[in-house]
């Protein structure tokens, strides 16, 4: 793992919305969570940043600014979409001017779900955003109870039809 992956400096882009995820990102820098102990620093300069942290809605009005910020960042860089609005538009999906998810504008490397996303998971996302997919663990297959129920219904004997009932009579 390179030093960029271990000590990312983040550029926080807070789009439109309720700013809940933006405040959770601010909380990451509070004494309770203290993300700086991992070497993470906040910067407002894209030339100094390694990770572009997007919270809130990406709109038609701010998508160009977002792209401009991303283009000014030096390689290696990563994009992390934090919160439901940045991941997929959230509750604002389908509204006018809303771009449904930051990945419609930029190549997102990691999605941090939640509404609002908790500081613990945000910190985890920042520290893991440079990890390659093949290094992540294989997902465990989970049994789907709804599917089992459907199969049980299909196995039950069919009800007697009207024609069969007439024949019996």
């Amino acid at each position: 793992m390179s030093y960029v992956e271990k000590n990312p400096w983040i550029l926080h882009f807070d789009g439109s919305g309720c700013s809940g995820c933006g405040m959770e990102v601010q909380a990451c820098f509070s004494p309770k969570f203290d993300v700086e102990q991992y070497g993470v620093r906040k910067t407002d300069n894209p030339k100094h940043a390694d990770v572009l942290l997007i919270t809130g809605i990406v709109e038609e009005e701010n998508r160009d600014y977002l792209v401009h910020l991303y283009e000014n960042m030096a390689e290696p860089k990563a994009v992390v979409a934090v919160g439901a609005c940045a991941c997929s538009g959230g509750i604002f999906e389908g509204c006018g001017d809303v771009v449904c998810g930051a990945d419609q504008v930029l190549p997102v490397d990691l999605y941090v779900p939640g509404c609002a996303a908790r500081p613990e998971i945000i910190i985890d996302g920042i520290l893991k955003c440079f990890e390659k997919p093949e290094t992540l663990e294989e997902p465990v297959a989970v049994e789907d109870p709804a599917k089992d129920e459907q199969e049980k219904i299909e196995e039950k004997p069919e009800d007697v039809t009207e024609e069969e009932q007439d024949d019996e009579e």
């Binding site: 390179s2 030093y3 004494p31 203290d34 102990q37 906040k42 030339k47 030096a74």
Partner: protein
């Protein structure tokens, strides 16, 4: 021959050891600063990791014009420090430091960033603020020790601290101005918990920013060397006291950085010139009367 050997050894020792000492001090300062904010803070080795990280960054353009001016800034910072620890003339050291700052200002002006231009304007005001007191310091050492050569001041028979106490107090003020920390962080803030818009370093990135960080470490050791000079009297005890006071002054600067908000440039210039006029000039006058 022995003198030349001592000069060479001192210069090489500063060249090699100063960045490690400066980086370690910076890490300890950040840790102390985090402790003041009830945080755990990053490791003391974090500044070294940051510099290594910055060196890994690449951009589409291989070189910007400001990269060359930043290299000149780093060169003159190192020259100033090497000259000081080799025992050269104080005025030469001060002029080298000023030259380094001028190149930094030019580097900010030639970049395309408006914030960098504003930072360069404030950097010039900062230079204007600390210049008189630094010159009074050189004059004070010359009057008391009879020489402006650092090697003569260091082997002097008595500690210059008490006779130059006004100049020392003024130097503590301009040390805060020179190190670009609150309340005098006009053009640049190195505190990760402080300002985020960096001013003069706005357009710098990657290896250029890493070089600037290393130059700041060299400058930190040089400025603490000035503090050390006030306590050197040719004995080992003088050196020990000087080193301890220098480190205490560094942490005092970090403490002040955490306790104060940023001030306007008018206030910085007024307070720096006022201090130079009152403490510096008065101290020089007293020395003139005494000596």
């Amino acid at each position: 021959m022995i003198m030349i050997l001592k000069i060479v050894i001192s210069a090489v020792a500063y060249l090699i050891l100063a960045p490690f000492a400066g980086g370690l001090l910076t890490g300890m300062g950040r840790r102390f600063s985090s402790g003041l904010q009830a945080k755990r803070g990053a490791s003391m080795m974090q500044p070294f990791r940051d510099v290594k990280k910055l060196r890994e960054k690449t951009s589409e353009e291989d070189r910007y014009l400001h990269d060359y001016y930043v290299r000149a800034f780093v060169f003159f910072e190192i020259v100033a420090g090497v000259a000081f620890f080799a025992g050269a003339n104080l005025l030469f050291v001060i002029l080298a430091l000023l030259a380094a700052d001028v190149f930094l200002v030019v580097a900010a002006y030639v970049s395309n960033s408006v914030h960098a231009h504003m930072g360069a304007d404030y950097e010039l005001m900062r230079m204007m603020a600390y210049c008189p007191m630094v010159l009074f310091m050189a004059a004070g050492f010359s009057m008391y020790c009879g020489s402006m050569e650092v090697r003569d001041i260091m082997i002097g028979s008595s500690m210059p601290f008490l006779p130059l106490i006004g100049i020392f107090a003024g130097f503590l003020l301009i040390y805060t101005i020179k190190s670009r920390t609150s309340p005098f962080d006009l053009s640049f803030s190195s505190d990760p918990a402080g300002k985020r818009i960096k001013g003069i370093t706005e357009a710098f990135s990657g290896k250029t920013l890493a070089a600037m960080e290393v130059a700041n470490w060299y400058e930190t050791i040089l400025m603490l060397g000035f503090v050390f000079l006030f306590f050197s009297n040719g004995t080992i005890w003088g050196h020990v006291v000087g080193a301890v006071v220098a480190i205490l002054v560094y942490f005092l600067r970090v403490f002040i950085n955490n306790c104060s908000a940023s001030s306007k440039w008018e206030f910085v210039v007024k307070i720096a010139w006022g201090t130079a006029a009152v403490l510096g000039a008065a101290n020089l006058f007293l020395l003139y009367v005494m000596i």
